[in-house]
C-alpha cells in the first residue's frame, strides 16, 4: 500500500513538473513594456509541438517571452515532444487533433503533409519574411508553389572541425580545396595521428559527407534535382561523387579505429575521439552543433584547442559558396489571428535575436545584429549562414523517411555499407536507386 501511494506521489510530481513547464512557458508575462507597440487586440492561445527539450526549450521560452512583450494576450503552449516528433504528429493527425503549429526538421515530411492538405499556407507572413530572409530561404519554405513554412533556425552542415594541436604538430593549415584536404590528411597520418574521425554508427554523418561532396562538385541545381529524385542515383554524377568520397573512406589506416571502428562510433564518439585528451584523430566532418559537443564533453577550448573551416571546394567556381543546412521549419495546421501574429513575429529579427543571445543558434534572418551572438565561433557560423549565397537543405531530410532517415535502412544503411566497401561504387549506387525508387513509389 505504501509503495502504491509512493508511486502515485511520484506520478503526481511528474505531472506537476510537466504542467509547470507548460505553464512557465505559456504564462511568461512581459515584465515591462518595450518600445514596440503592445497589441492587445489579438488574443487567444496557440499550441506548438517542437523537438526541443532541455536548454533548447529554455531558449525557445525566451523567444515566446519576447513575443508576449508585444502580444500579451496570446498564450503560447509549447510542448517539448522530442526526437520522435513526426511519429507523434502522424498519430495526432490520424486522430484528427494536430497542434496549431509544429517545428519539423524534415522538408520531406512537410511535402507529404502539404500533399495531403493538412497544412495551412502562411502567405500572410510573406512580406515580413521577404524583409528579413533572402530568396533561397523563402524557397526552402515553399511547397507546391505556396509558402508553407518559416525556416526559423538553421544549422550549417558544410563545416569541418579540426584539432588545432594536431594540425600544429603536423604543420598543416586548414585546406581550401579537396586536393589540399587529401594532402593534409596524408601529412597528418605521417605525423602519427589519423586524419579522420568518422561517426559511422550514425548513418546521417555519412550522408552529410556525401551531400557536401555532391554539392561542391555539381552545384545547387543538380543537388536539388537529386533531392527530388529527378536525377537517378545511378547517374554518373552520383558515381563521381561516390568515388570522391571513397578517397576518404578507403584511406582506412587514416580513419580512427579503421573501418570497423568507424562503424561502431556514433556522432558523439567521433567528436570526443578527436577533441578529447589525448586527441585520437584530427578532423570531424559535421555541422555547427559539433562545437556544443566539444564544449560539453571535452576540455578543448576554442581556437587553442579546436577550430573550424568550411567544407573544401571541389570543382572550381561558384558551387563552393553554397551551404548545406539542416533546420527547423515552422508550419501551421490552423489559421487564426493569434497564429498569424506569432508566425509574423517569428520572422522578425527580434525573435531570432532572443534565441541567438542564448548561444547555439544560427539563422538565415540577415537582420540579426552580429552583437547578438555570445561568442566568436557562434558569430562566425551565424554570419556565414546569413551570408550564404546558395542554401540547400540536408538532402536526406528531403527524401521520404524510409529512404532518407530510418536507422539501418535506405540511405543511412547503404552508406554504412559504402563505408565498409568504398570500392563498390556501382553496387552502392544501384542499391541507393532501388531503395529510393521503392520509397518514392510507396510515398505516393
Amino acid at each position: 500500500m505504501k509503495q502504491r501511494s509512493l508511486a502515485i506521489a511520484a506520478l503526481v510530481a511528474v505531472l506537476a513538473v510537466a504542467a509547470g513547464v507548460g505553464a512557465s512557458l505559456g504564462a511568461a508575462k512581459p515584465t515591462r513594456t518595450d518600445r514596440t507597440t503592445v497589441n492587445t487586440a489579438v488574443s487567444g492561445s496557440v499550441t506548438f509541438d517542437g523537438i526541443w527539450t532541455g536548454s533548447e526549450a529554455a531558449s525557445f521560452a525566451k523567444v515566446i517571452k519576447a513575443f508576449n512583450a508585444v502580444y500579451p494576450k496570446v498564450k503560447i503552449n509549447y510542448k517539448p515532444v522530442g526526437n520522435n516528433l513526426t511519429t507523434v504528429l502522424s498519430t495526432a493527425i490520424a486522430g484528427g487533433h494536430p497542434p496549431d503549429m509544429a517545428d519539423i526538421a524534415q522538408p520531406g515530411y512537410i511535402q507529404q503533409l502539404v500533399s495531403q492538405g493538412k497544412l495551412k499556407p502562411i502567405t500572410y507572413a510573406k512580406s515580413t519574411i521577404a524583409k528579413n530572409f533572402t530568396a533561397p530561404w523563402q524557397q526552402l519554405g515553399t511547397f507546391n508553389g505556396k509558402l508553407y513554412a518559416l525556416v526559423f533556425k538553421a544549422a550549417n552542415k558544410s563545416l569541418v572541425w579540426y584539432d588545432v594541436p594536431d594540425f600544429k604538430n603536423a604543420g598543416v593549415k586548414p585546406p581550401k580545396t579537396f586536393a589540399q584536404l587529401l594532402t593534409a590528411a596524408g601529412t597528418l597520418k605521417s605525423s602519427g595521428v589519423p586524419a579522420y574521425s568518422i561517426g559511422g554508427s550514425d548513418g546521417w554523418t555519412l550522408t552529410d559527407m556525401f551531400e557536401n561532396i555532391y554539392l561542391r562538385t555539381f552545384g545547387q541545381a543538380k543537388y536539388d534535382q537529386l533531392s527530388a529524385h529527378k536525377i537517378k542515383w545511378t547517374d554518373p554524377t552520383v558515381k563521381t561523387a561516390l568515388k570522391t568520397m571513397g578517397k576518404i573512406l578507403s584511406d582506412t589506416s587514416n580513419i580512427y579505429g579503421g573501418t570497423s571502428g568507424a562503424l561502431q562510433y556514433g556522432f558523439n564518439d567521433s567528436v570526443t575521439n578527436a577533441f578529447g585528451s589525448p586527441s585520437k584523430a584530427a578532423m570531424v566532418f559535421e555541422a555547427d552543433f559539433v562545437s556544443g559537443v566539444i564544449t560539453s564533453s571535452t576540455k578543448s577550448k576554442p581556437y587553442s584547442g579546436f577550430n573550424v573551416f568550411p567544407f573544401p571546394s571541389i570543382a572550381s567556381g561558384a558551387p563552393s559558396t553554397a551551404v548545406e543546412v539542416a533546420g527547423d521549419l515552422f508550419v501551421t495546421f490552423r489559421d487564426n489571428p493569434a497564429i498569424e501574429a506569432f508566425v509574423k513575429f517569428l520572422a522578425t529579427p527580434a525573435a531570432a535575436t532572443a534565441w541567438a543571445k542564448q548561444g547555439g543558434f544560427a539563422t538565415g534572418n540577415h537582420n540579426v545584429p552580429a552583437s547578438a551572438y555570445p561568442n566568436a565561433i557562434d558569430r562566425a557560423i551565424g554570419t556565414s549562414v546569413e551570408a550564404a549565397k546558395g542554401v540547400v537543405f540536408d538532402m536526406s531530410d528531403e527524401q521520404p523517411a524510409s529512404f532518407g532517415s530510418t536507422v539501418g535502412q535506405g540511405e543511412w544503411g547503404i552508406f554504412q555499407k559504402f563505408l565498409k566497401t568504398p570500392s563498390d561504387v556501382n553496387g552502392i549506387s544501384s542499391q541507393l536507386e532501388a531503395s529510393a525508387a521503392a520509397a518514392y513509389k510507396k510515398g505516393k
Binding site: V172, S190, S260, G266, A401, S402, G408, K442
Partner: protein, 439 residues
Amino acid sequence: MAAPPPPGESGERRLARYATGALFLAPALIVLGVWIVYPAVYTIIRSFFGQTGYLGTWVGFDNYKRLFTTSTLTTAIKNNAIWVAVVPAFVTAMGLIFAVLTERVRWSVAFKTAVFLPMAISAFATGVTWRIMYQQDPNVGAVNALIRSVKGAFSPAGVLPSALPSSPDETAQSSGAIILKTPLHPGGVALLGLTAIPPDQVPSGAKQAVTPPAKQGAIVGTVWRDFKPGGGVPGKVEQGELGLPNVTVELRSSDGKVVQKTSSAADGSFTFGRVRSGSYQAAVGAATFAKPFAGYAWLGPSLITPSLLIAYIWIWAGFSMVVIGAGLAAMPRDVLEAARTDGATEWQTFRRVTVPLLAPVLSVVFITMIINVLKVFDIVLSLAPESSQQNANVIALAMWRTAFGGVNDFGTGSAIAVFLFLLVIPVLALNIRRFKREA
C-alpha cells in the same frame, strides 16, 4: 454467469440482479475493451490498409507480401528463428545446471543471489552495460580487455606499433617487418625512415637524427622518425627529425637470412661491422611493429546476434534457476533415495529420476522463454549500435521501426504486429491447455 434464479423471483428483481452483475463486471470489461480488444481488432483491420491516416487506402494483402519480400523484415524473421532455437534451450539447461549444483554447494544463497541479480536490472540497462563491455577497443570494453590480457602474455606488442615506411624505397613485408629494398654492399649507408609515429610514442632520449658517414668494410645507417611539421622530404634526414633509439635492426643476406643484428643509438644510427663482400638488405624486424591486440568487433555486423544472445541468456538464467530450484525443493526425496539405494549412479539419478520429475517445471520455463524471445525488443535496441541493428533486427523491433521509426508506415507495422501475434498464439494455446490440465 448468473446463478439460476430462485423460484418465484419477480422480473424486476431479476433485472436488478443482472444490473448489479454488469456493474461489477464493467471496470474489467472497459479496461479489456479499451486496451486489448479495440487495439487488437483495429490493428488487424489496419494491416490491410495503406501507409498513413486513420485507415488509409485498402491495399489487401500487400503489407503481408512485403513482410516476406523486404530484406529488412526477412532478416528480422530469420533472427527471431535463431533466438527461438537457441535461447529457451540454453536458458532451461543453464537454469537446471545451476539449480542442481546450488543444492550441493556451501554459500548456495550467495551463489543464487549472484545468478538471479541480472533479473533485477531492466533489459534496457543491461543492453547499455553489455554494449560498453563489448566495445572493440580493449581499453574500453571489458570482454576484449580480458582476451587481451590472455593474448598479450603470448604475443606482446612492439615499441612502434603504428609505424609505417616513409619512402617508396622501403616496403612492409607480410610478416610485419619493414625492409629497405635498395641492395647494400660493404661501405654502404642504409636510411630506414619511419613515419606515422605519434610524438608521444618516440622513445625517450631520442636526439636529432644524423646520417652516419660511410665506413670501409661496414654497413652503417640510421633509423629515424622521418617526419617534421609540414611533412618534410621523405627518405631524407632533415633538421628537426628525431632518431629512434633502441630499435633492433637486422642485416639480411640476399637470400633473406639474418646475418647480423644491432641496436640503434640515441640519434638513430647503427653500424654492422666487418661485413663480407656481397649484397645485403637492411630491415627492422616484425617484433618492433607488432600490433597490440585490437579487439574483436563484438558489436559488428557478423557477431552482433551471438553477442545479444549471450547477454540475454545472462539475464534469464537466474529466473530459470529459481523456478527450477523451487521445483527441485518440492520433489519427493524418498524417490531419489530409493534410486540411490538401488545402486543408481549420480548421473543416472539425475537423468532418470530428477529430470523426468522436473519435466512440468522445465516446460514452464521453456514455454515462458519462447514467448519472451518471440517479442524480444528492448535489449536489441539498446545493445546493438545503429550500424549493425539491421543485422540484429528482430520482429518486434522491425515493427516499431516501420510503424514509429520515422517511416510511419502504420499499415506494414500493423501487419508485422499481426504476424507476431499469430506466432505467439500456438505457444499461448499450449500454455493455457497445460494450465487447464493442471487445474
